[in-house]
């Protein structure tokens, strides 16, 4: 409807300007396709999508939090913690689905706690979730005295990582399902509109009868749940709950959301953008690996490209 009134060329230019990160993303992918050995293959694509599923899942929850104008630094350690308690429950012969639901519930409760501290006690989310990061990375290490707990439950592994359905592997299904769900919630439902309103101008939103505190708390709940889900995917991938699996993931997640065009100051952003951002980071890592660069140099290049992409995408 918007573009039909505009000449095609002008709208194409506008589209490119609005989605400059997609252009960079395509250029870099093209570079890898041309210069990295065996990069252009279905198996590579599948591998990249599986690798990025974990960051994608967390980025979808994080998108809600960041559009609200807040931040959640605790997702990485929450993922480690979730993987640990999932592994411990399975070890105690808790039925697979019950364990999975309990872990999701724990993630929701932890997210709600962060949200309540941020909104009701008016502590900046940076500090609250920094504290949560420390608490849950500590707890994940403490429960077993830093020992990993192996997972022998095949149902669990199949559900979150190894299984496939209609020829598509489980992590890719999770990405698709979460993207669709997040898209519906953020772009099609009143709740999403309230998220944008809260991040765009909380005072005006409150004057319009939006419960901004509730909107933020629920955003943290979503972030907590996606972090728990990602934690179970991590545990299923390595067939063990390992207390340091998720360490540092929050940085990749936040980078993915910001690369995807979401404003760190709130009010702007999209679910698809965040998933594209996550896949971008995945392709970058995988491509550099295939090119044979050492992991230390990879980190440097990854950081530089993220800064360039975000600086070009500023609003």
């Amino acid at each position: 409807m918007k573009s039909s009134s505009m000449p095609l060329r002008a709208s194409a230019v506008n589209f490119l300007r609005d989605h400059i990160t997609y252009v960079i993303f395509l250029a870099i992918t093209l570079y890898f396709v041309l210069f990295a050995p065996h990069f252009a293959s279905v198996s590579t694509a599948g591998a990249v999508l599986r690798i990025t599923a974990i960051v994608s899942a967390m980025a979808i929850g994080m998108t809600f939090v960041i559009i609200c104008g807040e931040i959640d630094l605790s997702v990485g350690s929450l993922a480690s913690f979730s993987g640990m308690i999932a592994a411990l429950m399975l070890d105690q012969n808790v039925p697979t689905y019950v364990a999975a639901l309990l872990v999701l519930g724990a993630g929701a409760a932890i997210g709600a706690t962060s949200g309540i501290l941020v909104t009701k006690l008016r502590i900046p989310s940076f500090l609250v979730t920094l504290g949560m990061l420390s608490i849950f990375s500590g707890l994940a290490l403490t429960i077993t005295g830093t020992r990993p707990v192996s997972i022998v439950d095949d149902d669990f592994s199949n559900l979150f990582w190894n299984g496939s359905f209609l020829g598509v592997q489980a992590p890719i299904w999770w990405t698709v399902v979460l993207t669709a769900g997040g898209y519906y919630l953020l772009h099609q439902m009143p709740y999403g509109r309230r998220v944008y309103a809260t991040g765009g101008n909380a005072v005006a939103a409150r004057f319009s009868g939006v419960r901004t505190d509730g909107v933020k708390i629920f955003a943290f709940v979503l972030s907590g749940m996606t972090a728990s889900l990602a934690g179970m995917m991590l545990a299923a991938r390595s067939t063990a709950g390992n207390p340091s699996l998720g360490a540092g993931l929050e940085l990749d997640v936040i980078a993915a959301v910001i690369i995807g065009g979401t404003s760190l100051f709130g009010g702007y952003g999209s679910i698809v953008g965040s998933v594209v951002g996550a896949i971008f980071i995945g392709i970058l890592g995988f491509g550099l690996l295939v090119l044979g660069l050492s992991t230390s140099i990879q980190e440097v290049i990854k950081g530089a490209i993220i800064i360039i992409a975000v600086s070009l995408n500023r609003r």
């Binding site: 409807m1 439902m189 009143p190 944008y196 765009g200 004057f207 009010g267 702007y268």
Partner: protein
Amino acid sequence: MADRYVELKSVSKSYGGVPALTKVDFRCEPGRVHAILGENGAGKSTLMKLLAGVIQPDSGTISIGGQTVRFSSPRDAAKQGTVCMFQELSLMPHLSVGDNIVLAAPRTRMGLVERGVYQEAREALDLVGARSIPLGARVSGLSLSERQLVEIAKAVFRKPKLLILDEATSALTSELVETVFGVLRMLKAQGVAILFISHRMHEVDAIADRISVFRNGRHIETFDVGARTTDQIVGLMIGRSLEELFPPRRPPVPDTTPAVLDVSDVSWQSQLVNVSLAARAGEIVGLGGLDAQGQQQIMHAVFGVLRGVTGRIELNGKRLNGLKPPRLKQSDIGLALVPEDRKTEGLIPSMSVAQNMRLAALGRAPFGLLDLNGNSDARLRQLIERLALTYGSLEDPVATLSGGNQQKVVLAKWLVLSPKCLLLMDPTRGIDLGTKAQIYRLLTDLAAEGMAVILQSTDYEELIHLCDRVYVFYRGSVAKELKGDQLSADALIAASMNVHLHAGARA
């Protein structure tokens, strides 16, 4: 002519393409008090800032004492003897009164502040009638009117040749206004040129020698005080007669009609004291008074955004105390509030026109896809037509609209809910006249349809010509209720200052 102290020739200034002043010719002479009148956005502040060296003109010349000047900073202007007192007080709260005054023009001997200047500061304070304020007192401990006096003393201390007062008397009681006017008359006798900006016509009458009217960035006319009637001056300020701006009066709502909104004995902290007021269906009720006398707080109290409000608030017999906006906007209650500042409280700038308009009505269909909300969209389209909203596309960011159209979006957001009682806080501030007239028309129509409208306004004309009744607030309570023939500018001003008519600051 050497006696023209300040002269502007064909001066223009625009901000980012929006003209603030257009080809203004203006002069003021020493030993006269020259009043500048105009609505918000008429260009008064821009004129003052040009003279004070805060901004520079795009074209045209400014001359002082016959010499063309070009100030590059307020410091330059101050060197030429221009002293400006802006609306916002510019004192440093953590410094002493003496330091604040001396800071304006520090004289030093061997790098140290000269002792004698404090003596002069004391004299300046005494002169403006602030004998009771010690030099050593901290500004943060002073009352608003005491601070205003310090501000004036600071100006006197600098021995100005051109003194500009921008709403400088707004925080003063009528006795203090008289004291300040005494100082102004003395400065005038010493040959100081004084530019006086005020919204209060009676103050202008009392002190000014000449009046210049500005409108839409143009200098309309200059005349001696007494050459025009108040109505003529208002006509010059708004550019059309009041009859054209305001819809014809509606017949009064009979006193027997039950109240829709009933507020009784509402108090909040120290800012609201036992406020009682009522609005009937079909009435437009005004809330007036000087700035921040509680009329804004009572609106917030009714709309449930303040905590710890005591007293009783009822709408159609339903008690509203403790309820919050998400509940108040439901159709069984039907309360809506158009907040004071549309930029910070009314709109979400990052969202589109359509999304802003749908914001208050969100959630009437909790699981529905937003774009299929057929019913409310049909109603929105009707409202857009009724409000004569001018827009490019409904998907454009709301920030691209003009101020008047932004206000229409805020109105539409609430009207789509068909409220029973509409609270409006200064809805026409900074809006062009055409849109103002449309909004007045709309409010009149809404009242005629049976809505209870409560209008808090800083615009006296609005209160007089649009409202059936006006509650005038003073220090957190209703000082007076005016209706019918009692509604006049003089009565409003007298009630705002909590003085009886004829006992005010008339000289």
